[in-house]
């Protein structure tokens, strides 16, 4: 078997709280993401999904276990192999759209000619030709997130992590950007790890959906999604899609209920 692109082995993460307490966010998560696979992490909000992604991105270190990317242990950011797209576009407000896409390439110290070519290529890819000179304050939420996507893609890493990238957008824009992501993935051959709390979004996009438990996060279920490709928004009304949805919902439901605080009287 080929080496997985991303592998998590017994990953643990807890944060200190107060003077001597700790809060356990991730408990013993192990998972593998194969090359060119799109895997979603689905779980109740606040369950530690984003923490897992931040650890894979090398932004935080785990308290136990390890992350391996293409066989190497992750100790810090690996900008030549991994990029991460966040829920907020995190654009530099004083830079125009094209300069924002350029940002990661500048950090890498790329040749200006190469940079210009990549900036143009990826701005076109996300459908933003004509908006190169706009400041982020002049862009809609969806367009700003497209710029953020182009900035990440321009680094041409084999792995892209997506932390609820469309979570702050309205339902329709969200579906359209999901379609775009699949289209881009179909010819860029990237491995993607996608965090979401939307069942539909996970189903629409993923090859596999991993259900996480309420905090502390564990992998509760690993569901392979055998839906036809290319997947379109319309697929959402098909009976197969509904079957998957019911199955995921049943698995997720217990965790959502566990997330609700117990009434004080029962304690």
């Amino acid at each position: 078997m080929t080496e997985p692109a991303i592998e998590l082995r017994n990953l643990k993460k807890s944060y200190p709280v107060g003077n001597d307490g700790t809060i356990e966010v991730v408990r013993d998560v192990s998972l593998r993401v194969g090359a060119r696979e799109l895997v979603s992490l689905l779980g109740p909000s606040g369950c530690g999904k984003s923490t897992i992604l931040a650890i894979v991105a090398g932004l935080t270190s785990p308290t136990g276990g390890e992350v391996r990317v293409n066989g190497d242990r992750v100790e810090g950011p690996r900008p030549t192999e991994i990029t991460i797209v966040f829920q907020e576009p995190n654009l530099l407000p004083w830079r125009r759209a094209d300069q924002n896409v350029r940002y990661g390439l500048e950090l890498r110290g790329a040749d200006p000619k190469v940079m210009n070519g990549l900036v143009k290529k990826y701005l076109n890819l996300v459908g933003l030709q004509g908006f190169e000179k706009y400041y982020p304050s002049q862009l809609s939420g969806g367009m700003a997130q497209r710029v953020a996507l182009a900035r990440a893609l321009a680094l041409e890493t084999s792995i892209v992590l997506l932390d609820e990238p469309f979570g702050a957008l309205d339902e329709n824009t969200r579906s359209i950007l999901g379609d775009e992501l699949l289209r881009i993935k179909s010819f860029t051959e990237k491995t993607m790890l996608f965090v979401t709390h939307s069942i539909e979004e996970a189903l629409h996009l993923s090859d596999r959906v991993l259900i996480l438990s309420a905090r502390p996060a564990r992998v509760k279920d690993d569901i392979r999604i055998n839906l036809e490709t290319p997947r379109t928004v319309e697929l959402r009304w098909s009976p197969e899609f509904q079957e998957y949805k019911v199955r995921i919902w049943q698995s997720l439901k217990d965790e959502l209920e566990r997330d609700v605080p117990e009434p004080v009287a029962n304690r």
């Binding site: 995190n90 950090l107 890498r108």
Partner: protein, 251 residues
């Protein structure tokens, strides 16, 4: 048609000067205390023609420019240094704000004794005045930096130096410019005060010596010159502020 704002402002100024002229010419208030606007102009023209103003204004400008540069270098430097770590910020920022609140004028007699009546004491005093707003605004500017941008930058492999130059510094710039503006204004106040209190030359010295011989027209004229200096400096800062935050512009 919409009347431009600056036209209204000029009209307001002219009305004020007109009223001044009228009130002073009916002499409800003694002309020794309130000279007419026209007398003030005549008096200041004489001061300009004799070269007296030129001499004193140059001293004040030299002091102002030197103080501003010193305050800017130390204020920005200290601001970024203090803001760089949580420990330094939590220890020093309250002290800085407290010192800022003290009327710094109380230390001027000491400074005059240590550094004499020349420009040095004024430059030092002006620098101290200018330092605090520049330092505190730099700290506030750094604090206003969006942490998520730093996280994004780090994920793309930025070193702490690059995070500083590409994220923190540009984020802090608008607030920093506001600090520089207050710094310059306060340094000017400090310098004029210093010159009036104990010195051998400068605009403040000239105002003080004119007022001691009850030459009110000259005093008013000199105050006008002082206002002009600070208005021009602030207009320059307005342009700088607009330029530095063009990206905040609307659609």
């Amino acid at each position: 048609m919409k009347i431009p704002i600056w036209l209204g402002q000029i009209a307001l100024l002219l009305t004020f000067l007109g009223l001044w002229e009228i009130v002073a010419s009916i002499e409800i208030i003694s002309p020794v205390l309130l000279p007419r606007f026209s007398q003030t102009i005549i008096s200041i023209s004489g001061v300009v023609a004799s070269g007296e103003l030129n001499y004193h204004l140059l001293i004040t400008m030299e002091e102002l420019l030197s103080s501003f540069l010193i305050a800017a270098v130390f204020g920005i430097g200290a601001g970024f240094l203090i803001a760089s770590t949580k420990l330094l910020r939590e220890t020093l920022e309250p002290i800085l704000l407290l010192l800022f609140a003290i009327p710094i004028a109380v230390v001027y007699p000491l400074i005059a004794v240590w550094f004499g009546l020349g420009v040095e004491s004024k430059i030092l005093f002006g620098s101290i005045y200018g330092f605090f707003p520049i330092a505190t605004n730099t700290i506030a500017g750094v604090r206003s930096t969006n942490k998520s941008l730093m996280k994004m930058s780090k994920s793309m492999g930025a070193s702490s130096t690059r995070i500083f130059t590409s994220i923190i510094f540009p984020s802090a710039t608008p607030t920093l410019i506001t600090g520089l503006r207050s710094g310059l204004n306060l340094a000017f106040i400090g310098i004029i005060f210093g010159e009036m209190f104990a010195s051998l030359g400068g605009l403040g010295f000239l105002i003080n010596s004119s007022s001691q011989v009850l030459d009110s027209a000259k005093v008013f004229g000199l105050i006008g010159i002082g206002l002009l200096v600070i208005v021009i400096a602030n207009l320059a800062f307005n342009r700088l502020e607009i330029r530095s935050s063009r990206w905040r512009g609307e659609l």
